[in-house]
Subunit: 225 residues, 2 copies
């Protein structure tokens, strides 16, 4: 369960202050499928980074499965992230000069999965996103949408209990988008919690619940079904 | 005028060969507004890089305004690019640790525009994409869609005769997308040539002509109006 109370995030100081989040309260239960929408610059990625324990709020409370995230140091935060969370970044964040296969194996290596099983599971994840013939390509040898799909495969391969996806289909055509959404629907059917940022209405339609951010606040909160 | 005849682009060798473009012939006349669509990995960005003289074809002919691009060396290519072409990259390619304003001033600096005029025109371009209050932010202090809009402003500010836009709205909400498309429509009304890659049908609708790539070839070529 994710429990945010009155979370605020401020960047900069003086007259260059940016209040990226301005008092956000949100509860997400295990197994929920939540979509976050909102205009460019409204605070979606900032909220996602706080939910994913990649960033600390300036004010407010955040508990993830009962753990008070604000009290953890960097080592403890990275353990929480690696154990529980799969992250699809808006800018992919693949490791350069490293093959697609090695990129997808990485979360499994962190979890101590043996080499043979790691390789098989990474290959299966890349096949699921349609990239079985690009396993040995490095990021600069892949198209934009192919890099995005490697990032999707990397986030799913370790079967995380919480999946955070920031614009997972922004660079994909309708066929590749449908493949990625099918994988997320499967994760949801397996009882995993999904929080996904998107600016596309038909992608948000796959979630059970949609919140809309505006200027760092929740402006709308509606159920899809 | 852009004139491609039987252009092929091959990456790699042996059994790792990728035929990203496989005999593409295309003519674009001055003032045309062309959209390029196609599945992820179908060769769109590769074609754009060749049109933009950022990459050389493996085989085939390419003439830009009568100049045989294949005969130019790197210095001559960069002069052609800076003089004639504005480029919006799929991955933005902004200069890190450099403000939005300085990023947008750069094409004008290359063209020898004086400091005061450069600053005024860059500010106007950033205001046109809705970022007048983010001029002094560096790329890592901007949201994904804001970075994309800085890349749009940078491509438009020098009033290029040819604008190449690779997925210019992938990270933008409907409002910011409408702002960017309005700017492209204005460029088109001024008689500039626009080639735009997109996977969104309603964005492609703004062009006069749409080609669809499939596995490195033109699979469809239709007029929009
Ligand atoms: N440097 C490279 N080495 C090997 N293969 C490459 C290289 N660059 C691109 N490719 C391959 O060439 C094909 C075309 O890539 P391209 O970037 O043109 O696709 P695209 O249509 O722009 O896709 P997207 O919509 O995902 O951006 C892809 O299958 C890609 O894997
Ligand atoms: N490091 C930073 N320093 C200053 N301002 C920042 C920083 N990071 C983000 N911001 C600002 O905070 C606001 C929220 O950014 P955020 O990345 O959360 O937006 P977003 O909703 O994800 O937008 P997009 O849809 O464009 O990706 C933006 O206006 C941005 O300029
Ligand atoms: Mg974002
Ligand atoms: Mg591309």
């Amino acid at each position: 369960v994710l429990d945010l109370v009155d979370v605020t995030k401020v960047y900069g100081d003086g007259d260059a202050v940016v209040r990226a989040l301005d008092g956000v309260s949100l509860t997400v239960n295990t197994g929920d499928y939540l979509a976050i929408m909102g205009a460019s610059g409204s605070g979606k990625s900032t909220l996602m980074n706080i939910i994913g324990a990649l960033d600390i709020a300036t004010a407010g409370q955040y508990h993830l499965d009962g753990i008070d995230i604000n009290t953890l140091d960097e080592d403890a935060l990275s353990i929480v992230r690696n154990r529980k969370i799969g992250f699809i970044f808006q800018s992919f964040n693949l490791i350069p000069r490293t093959t697609a296969l090695a990129n997808v194996e990485l979360p499994l290596a962190y979890r101590g999965v043996k080499r043979g099983e790691r390789r098989d599971r990474a290959k299966a994840a890349l096949t699921a996103v349609g990239l079985s013939d690009r396993m040995h390509h490095r990021p600069n040898e892949l198209s934009g949408g192919q890099q995005q799909r490697v990032a999707v495969a990397r986030a799913l391969v370790a079967q995380p209990s919480l999946l955070l996806a920031d614009e997972p289909t922004g660079n994909l055509d309708s066929r590749a988008t449908a493949d990625v959404l099918k994988l997320l629907d499967q994760m949801h059917d397996e009882g995993r919690t999904i929080v996904m940022i998107t600016h596309e209405n038909d992608v948000a339609q796959h979630a059970d619940r949609v919140i809309v951010l505006k200027d760092g606040r929740i402006d709308e909160d509606r159920l899809n079904r």
